[in-house]
Amino acid sequence: MLAIEWPRGLTALMLPDTIHGPTSIFSPDGTPAHSVFGLSMLVLSITLCIFLIVAGLLFYALIRFRHRPTDINALQEPAQIYGSNQIELSWTVVPVLIVVMLFLATARVIYSTEHAPKPAASLDVTVIGHQFWWEYRYPKYGIVTANELHIPVSDRKNPTPTYLTMSSADTNHSFWIPRLAGKMDLIPNKVNTMWIDPSEAGLYLGQCAQYCGTQHAKMLQRVYADTPAEFAAWIAGQQKTAVQDASASEGQTIFQSNACISCHTVAGTVATGRFGPDLTHLASRDTLASGAVPNTPANIRAFVDDPAHFKPGALMPPMHLNEHDLDAVTLYLATLK
């Protein structure tokens, strides 16, 4: 089927290098993104042909039939032609045939993606959108994490796709990792599903694609496709309760005696809030604030001091801790591997 298996070499000729990138829909990896890509190449080729023909005729007509003041007949009106049923019928029927063809190719990709049989070895993850961060739950493993989604690589012979069950805790959001699949909205009071199956290990980027409030722009996404061994190790690490590091006990006390615990969970401690991201393994993540900044002690400190520093409009209030307490809490959070 043309719409699914587009010859790669031809694509390389058509698409210059600038069209590839970390979030380009023309650098697909994984089945859903590849089938959309194949369809899009078909649609692009047909529309390009239509454009060349119609624009070419139009351009020719503009040159050929321009008014020439020096002509002998310049003052005479041209022959008046009021229409032609045959010609008009032909430019009705041909577009109808093109539409039928495009519709069938499109319907095929819709069903092959949305009605794909789910393999037994697939992983289930629940995705919950929040203003302005992502909550990821792995029901089978009892893991809750935020903003950085880890999934196993899926190979074609033994597919291990990840099925995402999605909803929202507040406003609408949209899950979009362009290299893995098209987007799917996260809507409160509605459960949507989609699936992704990256074929190569690595980091896939994206961001919220439905306007969700003031900080929509910094609701970034990171999907890590891990090898089976990496993924098993990550799962084992996330299943543990929080590290209790004696050197950070002062920071822990300050954390637990402030409002932090109303919104954040640190598994194995009194912090069981659910409004903000789970911090049990905060230090194991690469970024803070939904991908806004790298996860460094300096950035943790600045974020706790005033989240608006990186994300004006973020719902976490500035904590107004003194310098000493701020250092202690930063030290504590940085130990949560």
């Binding site: 829909i25 119609v54 007509a61 430019w91 306007y211």
Partner: protein, 562 residues
């Protein structure tokens, strides 16, 4: 068959008043007028005012996005800018300018002395104008004067539940809701007026099948306004009930449905696109034939295609919702409906091509903009097919590709054709020609700016850039494109300023136009420029679609062929 001459300006023996009215009298005259021409001009002036405001907002957004992580405006100010820009351009530029041209031209083209309900006409204008100013009052008044700057920031679709009081406290969303509710009343009033005028006020001999295509298309457009404004108004009332009387239509925290709002909004929103673009097809159907010196090709097919677009456009709304999770069945249906509408649209493009074919094309400023419209509308239609292919849309939806696509429609097609209409009918409205020299500058600068901005804007969408973000990451490869897009916006601004200057300069200094500067064929060119308040001294009679052609070519009148 012709019983009366359509050219009656020469028969007009009414003496014009020679006294000069005072400024107060002029003001009083305009504020209390029920003359369709003055109301039409006020609609157009009002729309031009908001075009400048909305364009200014666009420039601010483009400065912010020119480089990544820019701090030119705050996130909230940016969100207000795109909300106000979209709302302004659709409701307070697009609708009024098209109603303005319709108001001005329809009675003149059907040989009538005014609209059917002149006082309703004035009411509709003033209530719509009030809506626009109410929306902008939000910048001053939202949560009291201390909250200056609290304009709505929910996007021009105002998706639930972002508009619920939990997420949108204060009154900014209420200004948005009320402004659109109120201007919707004006739109309905004008639509009633247009339908009644076209059905009841035509001059002797003007059967439906002899109406100029502009009038036909305005008839279809006005019918669509009834169908589209109603669900929008209903949804706005439901939203007000949710916010203030405790109902839960869209209140997801109490079991309401966010998707319900989407359906209500887009069952308005998509036909609205056709409400905006049909009148520009109407202008093209008058302007392209005159400057090609040929009758429009396939008049009956053009009418049929317009009616078909009107009906099919009512069944395509959920192609804005392919990523909402409607399921494969609904997605497939809306793919088919969406692609089907390209057939009647294609007929129109082909018929315009056939109109030009074999003609003698005069490249006036008006025709240049009409040719720009043809090319750009073709591209906009083709990117529309890409977006209508649901899986492609799963990737492109809500990305800058969509922004590029609909600006191709709204600027590349609608605004270009509007400029064309200005150059074509300005002589009729003012009695003066617009400067062709300034028009040429305006055209080429605008073409360059337009293509720099909106051709390139497709690319960041393909590279994964979502719309409605106030800033973006530096590592995504979007910066070069955004910088060039912003440069194009500046060029478009310069071109628009040249146009505004041309409008003002030519009003005082332009060459005198005379009644019929383009050697055209429809009735508005048979009366003086500008027309007297009563339009025609003697009601004309027609015996074909081009009464002035018949008059100029008595040896070979159109009535022989229709």
């Amino acid at each position: 068959m012709a019983t009366q001459s359509p050219v009656n300006a020469i028969l007009d023996e009414t003496t014009s008043s020679s006294t000069h009215p005072s400024a107060l009298q002029i003001l009083h005259d305009w504020l209390t007028t029920a003359d369709h021409k003055k109301i039409g001009l006020m609609y157009i002036g009002y729309a031009l005012l908001f075009l400048v405001v909305g364009g200014f907002q666009a420039i601010l957004m483009r400065i912010q996005l020119a480089i990544p992580n820019n701090h030119f405006v705050s996130p909230q100010a940016f969100n207000q800018l795109f909300t106000m820009h979209g709302t302004t351009m659709v409701f307070f530029v697009g609708m009024p300018v098209l109603f303005g041209f319709g108001n001005y031209l329809i009675p003149l083209m059907i040989g009538a002395r005014d609209m059917a309900f002149p006082r309703l006409n004035a009411f509709s204008f003033w209530i719509a104008a009030f809506g626009g100013f109410l929306l902008y009052f939000s910048y001053l008044g939202a949560p009291g004067l201390s909250g200056a700057g609290s304009a709505p920031d929910v996007g021009w679709w105002a998706y639930a539940p972002l508009t619920a009081r939990a997420f949108s406290p204060g009154h900014s969303t209420d200004y948005w809701t009320l402004a659109i509710l109120i201007s919707g009343i004006g739109s309905i009033g004008t639509a009633i007026n247009i339908v009644a005028t076209i059905l009841c006020m035509r001059c002797p001999g003007m059967k439906l099948s002899r109406m100029p295509l502009l009038v036909w298309i305005y008839l279809v457009m006005a019918m669509m306004v009834f169908v589209t404004i109603s669900p929008l108004t209903a949804a706005q009332i439901m939203l007000l009930l949710d916010r203030y009387l405790g109902s839960h239509f869209f209140d997801t925290q109490a079991g309401g449905s966010a998707v319900l709002w989407m359906h209500f909004f887009w069952v308005f929103g998509h036909p609205e696109v056709y409400v905006l673009i049909l009148p520009t097809f109407a202008f093209a159907n008058e302007i392209i034939p005159v400057f090609s010196r040929k009758a429009v090709f396939g008049y009956p097919a053009m009418v049929a295609a317009t009616v078909a677009i009107g009906f099919i456009s009512l069944s395509v709304w959920a192609h804005h919702m392919f990523t909402v999770g409607m399921g494969p069945g609904a997605n497939t249906f809306f793919v088919l409906a969406t692609m089907t509408i390209s057939v009647p649209t294609g007929i129109k493009i082909f018929n315009w091509l056939a109109t030009i074919w074999g003609g003698k094309i005069h490249f006036t400023s008006s025709m240049k903009f009409a040719i720009g419209f043809l090319f750009q509308f073709l591209v906009a239609g083709l990117t529309g097919i890409m977006l209508g292919s649901a899986p492609f849309d799963w990737q492109l939806s809500n990305s800058y590709f969509v922004v590029a696509h609909f600006h191709y429609v709204l600027v590349g097609a609608i605004l270009f054709m509007l400029f064309s209409a200005f150059y074509y009918w300005y002589p009729k409205m003012t009695g003066r020609m617009l400067s062709e020299k300034l028009g040429t500058w305006h055209f080429w600068l605008f073409v360059i700016g337009f293509h720099l901005t909106f051709d390139l804007m497709h690319i960041p969408g393909i590279l994964g850039m979502p719309r409605r973000i106030y800033t973006y990451e530096a590592d995504r490869g979007w910066m070069m494109w955004n910088l060039l897009i912003s440069c194009g916006a500046v060029i478009q601004t310069v071109a628009t300023l040249i146009f505004v200057y041309n409008l003002i300069w030519s009003y005082f200094k332009g060459p005198v136009a005379g009644a019929d500067p383009w050697d055209a064929w429809t009735l508005e060119w048979s009366t003086t420029s500008p027309p007297p308040s009563y339009n025609f001294a003697v009601i004309p009679g027609v015996s074909s679609r081009r009464p002035l052609w018949d008059l100029k070519h008595p040896e070979d009148p159109d009535s022989n062929y229709e």
